[in-house]
C-alpha cells in the first residue's frame, strides 16, 4: 500500500468520523447529566433532512446547519419534557423519539429524494497548515464543520473538568439529589444539556446531507446514531476519547469502502457490516477489561424526583 493510499484513508477516516463525533459528543454531554438519549438516530435524521431542505432553499450550507440545530433541539425538547418533567422511562422515550424522527424525516424529505444539493460544505485547504507533510493532508484539507469540531472537543473537555458549571454537570449524572440539595436547579440544567445534545445530533445529521454525501435519502444515517450511542460507552463519557473513538470508527468505515473500491473478493455487504461488528466487539472488550463495570455516571437513566425516597 502506498503512502498516498494511507493518507487518503486517514483523511477519509476524519471525514467519516466527524458525524459520529458530533453525535457522540452530544450524547456524552447529555449522559453526563444523567439522561440517556436513544433518540440520537432520529435527531440525526431530522437534522439531515431539515438541514438539506434549508440549505437548498436558502442556498447556504450554514442555513442548513442552523435549521438542523433547531430541529435536533426541538426533538430533544420532547425527550426532555418526557424524561425530566414527566419522569418517563428514558429508554422508551428515546426509542419513541427515534421512531418519530425517522418517520417525520421520511415525510418531510419526500420531494427532495435524489435531488442535487443546492448548498454544500466544500473542502478548504487551510493556508500554511495544509502544507505540513502528511498531517496537513490528513487534518487540514477538510471542511468547515470538521474544523469547528477540532475546537469543540477541547472546549467540552475544558468545560467538563475545569469549570464550575462542568462540575455541576458531572455531579448531576452521579447524584442529582446531592446537586439539588446544593441549591442547583437540576431540572433546568438537564433540559439544557439534553437540548445541547440534540442540537449536536442535528449537526451530525446535517454533516451527512451537506458535506459527507450531499443529498437526501430516507434513512441516510444508516444506524450511525446508534454507533454514536455505543461510542459513548467506549469513550467512558470523555470528549477526547469520543474523538478518538469516532475517528477509529470512521477509519473502519473508510477502510471497508476503500477495500470495496479496490475490488477485494469479499462481499460488499460484509465490508459494510464492519463498523457494526466492530461496535459490538469494542463494547465487549471495554466491559470485559473493566470487570463488567463501566464508568457510567451513577445516576444514568434514573428519573429524579425530589420528594421520592
Amino acid at each position: 500500500m502506498s503512502e498516498d493510499f494511507i493518507v487518503s484513508l486517514l483523511a477519509a477516516a476524519i471525514t467519516m468520523g466527524t458525524p459520529l463525533l458530533y453525535a457522540a459528543l452530544g450524547e456524552v454531554i447529555c449522559e453526563r447529566s444523567g439522561i440517556i438519549n436513544l433518540g440520537v438516530e432520529g435527531m440525526m435524521l431530522i437534522g439531515a433532512c431539515v438541514g438539506f431542505i434549508a440549505g437548498n432553499s436558502f442556498g447556504s450550507p450554514w442555513a442548513g446547519v442552523a435549521a438542523a440545530i433547531a430541529a435536533g433541539a426541538l426533538l430533544a425538547l420532547i425527550h426532555a419534557f418526557l424524561t425530566v418533567t414527566l419522569r418517563a422511562n428514558q429508554v422508551v422515550s428515546g426509542l419513541a423519539v427515534t421512531l418519530f424522527g425517522t418517520g417525520l424525516s421520511g415525510y418531510l424529505g419526500q420531494d427532495y429524494v435524489g435531488q442535487p444539493a443546492g448548498a454544500v460544505f466544500g473542502k478548504i485547504a487551510l493556508p500554511v497548515l495544509s502544507d505540513i507533510p502528511v498531517i496537513g493532508s490528513i487534518l487540514f484539507k477538510q471542511d468547515a464543520l470538521v474544523y469547528i469540531s477540532y475546537f469543540l472537543v477541547p472546549l467540552a473537555a475544558w468545560y467538563f473538568y475545569k469549570t464550575r458549571s462542568g462540575l455541576f454537570l458531572r455531579a448531576m449524572g452521579e447524584n442529582p439529589a446531592a446537586v439539588d440539595a446544593a441549591g442547583i436547579n437540576v431540572f433546568r440544567l438537564r433540559y439544557l444539556y439534553i437540548i445541547v445534545g440534540g442540537a449536536l445530533a442535528g449537526v451530525a445529521g446535517a454533516y451527512l446531507s451537506l458535506a459527507y454525501a450531499p443529498s437526501w435519502l430516507e434513512n441516510m444515517t444508516a444506524g450511525r446514531g446508534w454507533i454514536a450511542v455505543a461510542l459513548v460507552i467506549f469513550a467512558l463519557w470523555d470528549p477526547w476519547r469520543a474523538m478518538a473513538g469516532s475517528y477509529l470508527f470512521g477509519g473502519i468505515d473508510a477502510l471497508g469502502f476503500n477495500l470495496q473500491v479496490l475490488g477485494l473478493p469479499v462481499s460488499g455487504f460484509i465490508l459494510n457490516m464492519l463498523p457494526y461488528i466492530f461496535t459490538v466487539l469494542v463494547l465487549v472488550l471495554v466491559l470485559k477489561r473493566r470487570g463488567g463495570r463501566s464508568a457510567a455516571p451513577q445516576a444514568l437513566g434514573l428519573p429524579y424526583d425530589r420528594e421520592e425516597r
Partner: protein, 507 residues
C-alpha cells in the same frame, strides 16, 4: 425577647397515606442548640427537609427573622443561610472533598479555582479541628470523615442555621464527644444548631432546648433546666418502656461456627476483613459491636456465602465451609437476615406467600418443578399468626407493610426453617419501640431453641440486653472480645475507635 432566627408555623406535610408532620411549630434562636427528639418515623427528617426547601409543606409558613419567606427549592434555603447534614449524605462519591464542597458554592467564579477552595477548607478544618484531606475522593473516606465533609461544607457557606440529622448514628462515643464540642463552638459563634436524634442521653447532654415529636405532632417541649428523663420518654413513646428482658440461664452447647483468620475484600477492592477469628456455640448470641462500615456487613456476607474469603477458614458444625455457595450454606442450616430488608432480604413487590416460598423453592414447597401452593399459603398464614404480623393480606406486596412487620416476616421465615446458625444485621434499625421489643423476644426465643446467633448491632444497649459475648470490630479487625457481664462502655468505645489497650491506634 430576641426574635427567632427561624420560625416554622403550623407546618403540615402529607405523603400518600401518611401525615408526616401535623401542624408543627418550631422556633430556632441564634446561639442555641435545639434538639429534635423522636422515634424513627416521627417526622423529624421531614420537618427539616421542609426547612431546607427539599420538600414543600402541604400547609404552614416559614419566617426568617420575622419575615415570611418562600422556600421553593434548596437554593432558597441556602440563600437564607440554612445548611443541613442529611442522614444519608448528599455527597458525590467519585468526586474529591474539595469538589464536593465547591459544588454548593453556586456563586463562585465560572472557572474552578481548586487551589483557593482547598486553602479555604484547610483553614476551616484547622479552626474546628476537623481533620480532612481535601484531595481525597469521597469513596475513600470512612463514614465519620464523610460527615466531616458535610459539616465543613455548611461552615464553608457560612450557614447560620446548621441542621444535623442523626449525626451520631455513624460515630463512636469518642467521635460523638468531639462533634458535641464542635457543635457548641458553632452555637457560641452565633449559629442556631438543630440536632436531630432519637437517643435520650445525647440530647440531655447537648441540648439547650428540646422539641419532642411523636407520630408527626409536637408532643412536648423542654429547656435544659427542666430536663427530666422520665417525662421525655413519655413524650417520645407515649408510655413507659421496658428493655430488661427476662433472660433464661444460657446453656450453651457445641461450637457451631468457627472462623479462623478470615480475610476478605470490600466492594471497593480494599481489605474489609482482616484476620477475623471467633467461635459461636449453640444457644449463644454473639454480638458484634462497632460503628457500621467497619467490616460487619462483609463479615456476615462471608459467613452467608455471598462474598469470597481471601484467606482463612470457616468451620460450620466441624466441617470446612469456607467459600461454599449460599445454597449449600442455607441447606446446612445457616440463615442470613441482611440489613436491607427490602433489598436483599425480601422481594418488595411480591406477596408474603411468594416471599416465604422464595427461600425454600427446593424444599418443602416443591414437588419436582411444581410449587405446592396450598402448603405455601398455609405456611404463610401460620407465620403471620405465630409472629403476630399485621398486614392487609398475605397476598399483598410486602413493601406495603410497616418496617416492624416486614422485619417480623423476614425473621419468621428464617426461624421457620429451623436454622442452626442465624446471622442478623441491625435487626431493629428504623423500628419503633413496640416492634423492637417483639424482634428482641424473637431472637431470645430462637436462642432458647439452641440456635447460634451472630448479632451485628451499632447499639451497645441492644447487645448488652441480648448477647452472651461481644466482639468489637474496627477497620475489619476484631479488636477484642468480652463476656457481656464484663462489658465496659468506655473500653468498648475506645476499641470501636481503633484505640487499643496500649494506647496506640490500631490501623
Amino acid at each position: 425577647m430576641v426574635t427567632p432566627l427561624i420560625s416554622m408555623l403550623g407546618i403540615t406535610k402529607r405523603f400518600p397515606g401518611v401525615i408526616a408532620n401535623n401542624k408543627i411549630n418550631l422556633e430556632l434562636y441564634p446561639g442555641e442548640i435545639h434538639a429534635l427528639l423522636g422515634e424513627n418515623g416521627s417526622g423529624k427528617s421531614t420537618l427539616m427537609s421542609i426547612l431546607t426547601g427539599l420538600y414543600q409543606p402541604t400547609e404552614g409558613k416559614i419566617l426568617v427573622e420575622g419575615k415570611e419567606t418562600q422556600f421553593s427549592s434548596p437554593a432558597d434555603a441556602i440563600k437564607n443561610g440554612i445548611g443541613m447534614v442529611h442522614q444519608h449524605f448528599k455527597l458525590i462519591e467519585s468526586f474529591t472533598v474539595a469538589e464536593n464542597i465547591a459544588l454548593s458554592d453556586t456563586h463562585g467564579s465560572f472557572k474552578l479555582d481548586t487551589a483557593q477552595i482547598e486553602a479555604d477548607i484547610a483553614e476551616l478544618s484547622s479552626y474546628y479541628g476537623l481533620k480532612i484531606d481535601p484531595h481525597a475522593h469521597v469513596w475513600q473516606l470512612g463514614v465519620s470523615e464523610k460527615q466531616r465533609v458535610e459539616i465543613l461544607r455548611m461552615l464553608y457557606h457560612k450557614s447560620k442555621v446548621l441542621i444535623l440529622d442523626e449525626p451520631t448514628a455513624v460515630l463512636t462515643p469518642q467521635e460523638t464527644r468531639e462533634l458535641f464540642i464542635n457543635l457548641r463552638k458553632m452555637a457560641d459563634n452565633g449559629c442556631a444548631v438543630v440536632f436531630i436524634s432519637h437517643k435520650l442521653n445525647e440530647v440531655e447532654e447537648l441540648a439547650d432546648r428540646i422539641t419532642v415529636l411523636r407520630s408527626g405532632v409536637v408532643s412536648g417541649h423542654m429547656t435544659k433546666e427542666e430536663i427530666n428523663r422520665a417525662s421525655l420518654i413519655k413524650m417520645m413513646v407515649g408510655r413507659e418502656l421496658n428493655t430488661n428482658y427476662d433472660r433464661k440461664e444460657s446453656h450453651t452447647g457445641d461450637v457451631v461456627l468457627k472462623l479462623e483468620k478470615i480475610s476478605a475484600l470490600g466492594d471497593m477492592h480494599t481489605l474489609a476483613l482482616d484476620n477475623v477469628s471467633f467461635k459461636i456455640r449453640a444457644g449463644e448470641i454473639y454480638g458484634i459491636a462497632g460503628v457500621s462500615g467497619n467490616g460487619q456487613r462483609e463479615l456476615a456476607e462471608v459467613i452467608a456465602g455471598m462474598r469470597l474469603a481471601m484467606g482463612g477458614k470457616m468451620y460450620f458444625g466441624g466441617d470446612d465451609f469456607t467459600n461454599k455457595t449460599p445454597r449449600e450454606k442455607i441447606e446446612a442450616g445457616i440463615s442470613y437476615v441482611p440489613e436491607d430488608r427490602l433489598g436483599t432480604g425480601l422481594a418488595p413487590n411480591l406477596s408474603s406467600v411468594d416471599n416465604i416460598i422464595l427461600k425454600e423453592y427446593n424444599g418443602r414447597f416443591a414437588e419436582g418443578w411444581r410449587i405446592k401452593w396450598q402448603a405455601a399459603v398455609s405456611a404463610a398464614k401460620h407465620t403471620v399468626e405465630e409472629f403476630d404480623i399485621k398486614q392487609g393480606s398475605i397476598y399483598q406486596p410486602v413493601k406495603m407493610m410497616s418496617g416492624g412487620n416486614i422485619q417480623k416476616l423476614l425473621l419468621g421465615r428464617e426461624i421457620a426453617a429451623k436454622p442452626k446458625l442465624m446471622v442478623v444485621l441491625y435487626p431493629v434499625r428504623g423500628l419503633d419501640i413496640g416492634a423492637i421489643e417483639a424482634v428482641h423476644k424473637l431472637l431470645l426465643k430462637l436462642k432458647e431453641q439452641n440456635t447460634a446467633i451472630l448479632l451485628v448491632s451499632e447499639e451497645l444497649e441492644e447487645i448488652a440486653a441480648l448477647a452472651d459475648r461481644v466482639g468489637v470490630m474496627f477497620a475489619g479487625k476484631l479488636m477484642g472480645e468480652f463476656a457481656v457481664q464484663d462489658m465496659d462502655i468506655e473500653k468498648i468505645g475506645a476499641l470501636m475507635a481503633g484505640v487499643t489497650e496500649d494506647g496506640g491506634e490500631g490501623k
